[in-house]
Every structure is written in structure tokens, then in C-alpha cells.
């Protein structure tokens, strides 16, 4: 994988587990990818595949139950997994910021939203509260919140879902971080605002050379904004490539099937193609290819535990042992065959 000197974020062999009552469950396995400054990397994948956990691991916010089992996360010159908590704290919010998936619960219910944005500025830029509040209002305007001076004094429960999400975004962008992790930043936004937000992110990227880790289910958003894409399935990366290559020449059967499932606004579809079956729960992952039980081209060899990501082209890696069959796989027919 590209991990040259000029990567901003470099994740190697990251495994994360959660402690449960009856022992711990590993939910991330050997995740490895890197992000260059100014690069927008999209992470897509099955719900529950570990996208959010990956981002929390980067931020060092796995919580009391989660722990990094192995691997390293390098950010600039520093290895995050080895940083002192104090140092880590300084980085958070200033150098790396995160937009959380659940705006509803991620905002403090008893603080005014304007203050919640301003607070970051006060913490990291040493600004006084008043100027920070003014800046917060500007940020709110930037993310498309109407009448921001008035809204700044609202509490989260007075805002609509999309507004809360935009507050989260404004908060994350406040310090113009080097790395922005956006976990489903626009799910609650209508497409016009969404477009505006994405444009804002892209503009900031252009302006500040900000790297973005964009986690989303919206393939359209990925196609539109991401430079590279990481596809995850059941705690593993199954494919990663440039956005262009991934959308034009997806290789892993999961990726292919995934792209097929997108409902289009341009035509009325009668039945959406789906991937049959369910994701295995992290506690009973089988060795070998985890997609195998649902895969139209699965074979015995898929159970081989030594399976790993294989580069199929420069900057394109796939975790599949039947690459040829995968390349050949015509998902349209596979779906129609009712697999």
C-alpha cells in the first residue's frame, strides 16, 4: 500500500476488539490503509462492518470496552497508538476532527449549539468566547443553517435532524483540521444542502490540503467526492482503489453486488437487486473469505485462512481468492439467478 513519506494517516494491521461479558469480540481485523494530505478517502461497506469503529480507533475514542488489539495508526510524524492521552487530546479537534454518525445523541442536550461550536475554537485557538461565538455563527452559515444568529442559541432538541448534523459538521470544521473523519455526514440532509456541504468539504480540502475520511452509504456521494475508496465487509477491507477504478472496474464480488443495489432516482425500478443473506456476527467469523457464504462464486478455496489483500493493479487491492472468476462475474445475472 502506498505509505510514502507524504501520507498523513497510515493505518497498519489494525485490529480492534470489544470486551463483552463472555470474552471479547474482535470486530476489526488487520485494517490497513493510508490517507494523503488533501485526499478524500471514502469508506463504504456493509452496515456493521466496522467503519465507525475504524474512525473511532483513529480518534482514540473507542471507549472503555473497546481496545486496539494490534496494529498501529500513524498520523503525520506521530504514532497515535503510542501518544499520551494529553497529547492525543490536543490533536483531537485541532488536527483531526470527527463528524459522528448520530447527530441526535452526539450533541450535548443542555448546551446551546453555538456554544458547542465555539468551545472548540476556544480550546484550540485560544480565542475568547465572544469572538469564538461570532465565528461559530459564521460556520453555521457556512453549513447552510438559516438565521444562524438566532439558531446559535438553540438547544439541540429544537433543531431538525439535518440541522444537528450540520452543527456537527460546523464543529468538526471549526479548527480547519488536517484530517476530517466524516461518519455519514450527510444522511440527514436533503440533496441540495448535501451538495453544499460536500462542496464545502471539497473546498476546504483544496484550500487547506485537508485529508478527509468519508464514511457513507451513499455511493453517489462517494463517486462524487472521493479520490480513493475503501470497501469494508465484516471487519475487513475487501477492496480498495481509486474512486474511478472502483466505480468503473469493481472487482470484489461484494463491491460489484453492492453497486448494483443502489436505487436510482432516474428510473423507476420494480425490484431492487439485493445481496441475499446476512452479515455474520463478529463473534462467529469463519476463517477465509467472510463473504463466501453469500458469494455467488464461492468455492472451497474461499475458506483458506491465509487469504489477504492482493494488489490487482497499482493502487487497487482486493481480498478475494477467485480473482478471475470475480472479474468475470456479471452481477446482473447473478442477481437474477436469485443468489
Amino acid at each position: 500500500m502506498a505509505s510514502g513519506a507524504n501520507t498523513l494517516l497510515d493505518i497498519r494491521d489494525l485490529s480492534v476488539s470489544f470486551a463483552g461479558l463472555r470474552g471479547s469480540v474482535t470486530v476489526l481485523h488487520d485494517i490497513a490503509f493510508s490517507v494523503k494530505p488533501g485526499e478524500i478517502v471514502g469508506i463504504v461497506g456493509e452496515s456493521g462492518s466496522g467503519k465507525s469503529v475504524t474512525s473511532l480507533a483513529i480518534m482514540g475514542l473507542l471507549g472503555a470496552q473497546g481496545s486496539i488489539e494490534s496494529g498501529s495508526i500513524r498520523f503525520g510524524d506521530e504514532v497515535l497508538t503510542e501518544l499520551s492521552p494529553a497529547r492525543m487530546r490536543e490533536k483531537r479537534g485541532r488536527d483531526m476532527a470527527m463528524i459522528f454518525q448520530e447527530p441526535g445523541t452526539s450533541l450535548n442536550p443542555i448546551l446551546q449549539v453555538g456554544f458547542q461550536i465555539a468551545e472548540v475554537l476556544v480550546e484550540h485557538t485560544g480565542a475568547d468566547l465572544q469572538s469564538a461565538q461570532r465565528r461559530a455563527i459564521e460556520l453555521m452559515a457556512q453549513v447552510g443553517i438559516p438565521a444562524p444568529e438566532k439558531r446559535a442559541r438553540d438547544y439541540p432538541h429544537q433543531l431538525s435532524g439535518g440541522m444537528k448534523q450540520r452543527i456537527m459538521i460546523a464543529m468538526a470544521l471549526a479548527c480547519r483540521p488536517k484530517l476530517l473523519i466524516a461518519d455519514e455526514p450527510t444522511t440527514a440532509l436533503d440533496v441540495t444542502i448535501q451538495a453544499q456541504i460536500l462542496k464545502l468539504i471539497v473546498d476546504l480540502r483544496d484550500e487547506l490540503d485537508m485529508a478527509v475520511l468519508l464514511i457513507t452509504h451513499d455511493m453517489g456521494v462517494v463517486a462524487e467526492t472521493a479520490d480513493r475508496v475503501v470497501v469494508m465487509y465484516a471487519g475487513q477491507i475487501v477492496e480498495q482503489s481509486t474512486a474511478e477504478r472502483l466505480f468503473t472496474r469493481p472487482t470484489h464480488p461484494y463491491t460489484k453486488l453492492l453497486l448494483r443495489s443502489i436505487p436510482s432516482a432516474h428510473e423507476k425500478q420494480e425490484v431492487l437487486p439485493v445481496i441475499e443473506g446476512t452479515t455474520p456476527s463478529p463473534s462467529d467469523h469463519q476463517p477465509g473469505c467472510r463473504f463466501a457464504p453469500r458469494c455467488p462464486i464461492a468455492a472451497d478455496m474461499c475458506r483458506d485462512p491465509s487469504l489477504s489483500l492482493v494488489a490487482v493493479a497499482p493502487d487497487h487491492a482486493v481480498r478475494c481468492c477467485r480473482l478471475d472468476a470475480a472479474r468475470e462475474l456479471d452481477v446482473t445475472r447473478a442477481v437474477e439467478a436469485g443468489l
Binding site: 470486551a19 461479558l21 472503555a64 443473506g277 455474520p280 456476527s281 463473534s283 462467529d284
Partner: protein, 288 residues
């Protein structure tokens, strides 16, 4: 379909014990509480002396090999009395807790959930009782009822429930606008069930804490009542009364107050550790 894995299917409830075993506070607490309760239940059968046997010539004996904790003003064996007194004190405190927790949470939840006149009615009642200095109110109640164990329980219950109701109400007020409550409403869940299944589990932790800290306060309040002559009558020992009787001799013969306080202290520590432990256990987000 993925077959349910063995590691994930567990008998409901077994989680509880697993968590329980993980919580240090809960374990230590439950051992202490179990010890105290067993003493209260069976201790009186095993005591070396008759706890009400007076022998004034042997009054205020310091602890020795026959009287392990010495004797009191009337020469009664302190150890035997502590064992027997534990029974009374526990019965009183547990009854009061049971009564007040029930009344307090139910009314507090109703007040917060229904709002309007229900709230006004409950809270104003609470205000009135609450506004009386606890002791004075208990004295008034007890004075009306005449002395006895039941009186103590009723009087202290009357004094205690409003605090619980207020606390419950404030906790529920905070929860009332949670989305999952709306979800329950939408599911057609009747009010009583919303309270039981949604409010209660989410407010039980602070209530447990209040209850566990309340054990000691109630035991001491009982002592105050009996001091005022409206409590549990001689010769029946209670820890509170023993502490109180011992206090006047603190400088000369500290053992009576000391051992009774110790019994109370250990019990309180047990209940409090258990309470905090239970809180941790009941929280699905375990930490290790």
C-alpha cells in the same frame, strides 16, 4: 441464515450474575449484606447470652471472654443485643425502604409523566410533608399512632417517600423527552408499563444509591424516635437505641456505642457497596 452462535445465546438473567461477579463492589457488598442478614435471621439462636437478661451488677463491663463486646448499662450482653437488634433494625429499615421506594417511585413517575394536575397534586403533597422538618413530622405521626415497631415504620415511611418521589420526578423529567419514550408511546404501551419498563430501569441506579444510603439514616432515625419515647420499646434492642444509649457513656465506656456503630457501619458499607455494585451491574454498558 447464520445459525445463532452458542456464545451469544444465553439464558436471560445469566448476564446478571456474570456482571455481578465482575463487579468488585457488588461482590464485597453482597457478602457483607448476606452476612448481616444471616446474623439477623439465625444469630439470635446462637447468641451466648440472653439479650434481655438484666444484671445490673455486671453493668458496663468492658469486653472480655464471656461478654465479647462487654455489657450495657443494665449488664446485658452487648453482643447478643447487637445480634438481636440487627433483626429489628433490618426489619424496620427494609420495610421503610420497601414502602417508600414503592410509593415514591410510583407517585414520582406519575407526576412527571402525566404532568398537569397529577403533578401538581403529588408535588404539593410532597411539598407539604417534605417541608416539615423530618423529625418533627415523624414525631407528629408517631405521637398520633402510639409507640411500637409498626408506628416507627409508618412514621418513617411517611417522612421518606416524598424525597424519593421528588428524585424520581426529576429523573423522569429528564427522560420524558427521550425518543425511546416516544417510541414506546407510539407502540401503544400503556402508561404503567412505560413507567415500569422504560423509566424505572433508567432511573433505578440513583434510587438504589439513595436507598442504600438510606439504610443507615433510617436506622438512626428509628433511634431518635425511640429516644423521644415513640419508637420501639424496651427491652427490645435496636442498633439505633444502643448507639444512642452508648453515646452518653462515650468518654467512659465507649464499647456499647462503638460496637453498635460498628454493626451499623458494616451494614451500611455492605448495602452501599452492594448498591453501587448493583448500579454497575444493571448498566448494560459494562466496563472492565
Amino acid at each position: 441464515m447464520a445459525a445463532p452462535s452458542t456464545s451469544q445465546t444465553a439464558r436471560p438473567g445469566s448476564d446478571f450474575f456474570l456482571r455481578f461477579r465482575r463487579s468488585r463492589n457488588a461482590m464485597i457488598g453482597s457478602v457483607i449484606v448476606a452476612f448481616v442478614v444471616l446474623m439477623a435471621l439465625f444469630g439470635p439462636l446462637l447468641t451466648p447470652h440472653d439479650p434481655v437478661k438484666v444484671n445490673v451488677l455486671a453493668s458496663w463491663r468492658a469486653p472480655d471472654s464471656t461478654h465479647w463486646m462487654g455489657t450495657d448499662a443494665l449488664g446485658r450482653d452487648v453482643f447478643s443485643r447487637i445480634v438481636l437488634g440487627g433483626r429489628v433494625s433490618l426489619i424496620v429499615s427494609m420495610s421503610v425502604l420497601a414502602v417508600t421506594l414503592t410509593i415514591g417511585t410510583v407517585l414520582g413517575m406519575c407526576a412527571a409523566y402525566f404532568g398537569g394536575w397529577v403533578d401538581a397534586l403529588v408535588m404539593r403533597t410532597v411539598d407539604i410533608i417534605f417541608a416539615f422538618p423530618e423529625l418533627i413530622f415523624a414525631i407528629l405521626v408517631a405521637a398520633v399512632l402510639g409507640p411500637g415497631t409498626l408506628t416507627v415504620i409508618i412514621a418513617l415511611s411517611m417522612v421518606w417517600w416524598p424525597g424519593i418521589a421528588r428524585l424520581t420526578r426529576s429523573l423522569v423529567l429528564g427522560l420524558r423527552h427521550e425518543m425511546f419514550i416516544e417510541a414506546a408511546i407510539v407502540s401503544g404501551t400503556p402508561a404503567h408499563k412505560i413507567m415500569r419498563r422504560h423509566f424505572l430501569p433508567n432511573i433505578v441506579a440513583p434510587l438504589i444509591v439513595r436507598a442504600s444510603i438510606g439504610v443507615g439514616f433510617i436506622i438512626m432515625a428509628e433511634a431518635t424516635l425511640s429516644f423521644l419515647g415513640i419508637g420501639i420499646q424496651e427491652p427490645e434492642p435496636t442498633w439505633g437505641a444502643m448507639i444512642r444509649d452508648g453515646l452518653s457513656q462515650l468518654r467512659t465506656d465507649p464499647h456499647l456505642a462503638l460496637f453498635a456503630s460498628l454493626a451499623l457501619g458494616i451494614t451500611m458499607i455492605g448495602f452501599n457497596l452492594l448498591g453501587d455494585g448493583l448500579r454497575d451491574v444493571l448498566d448494560p454498558k459494562v466496563r472492565n
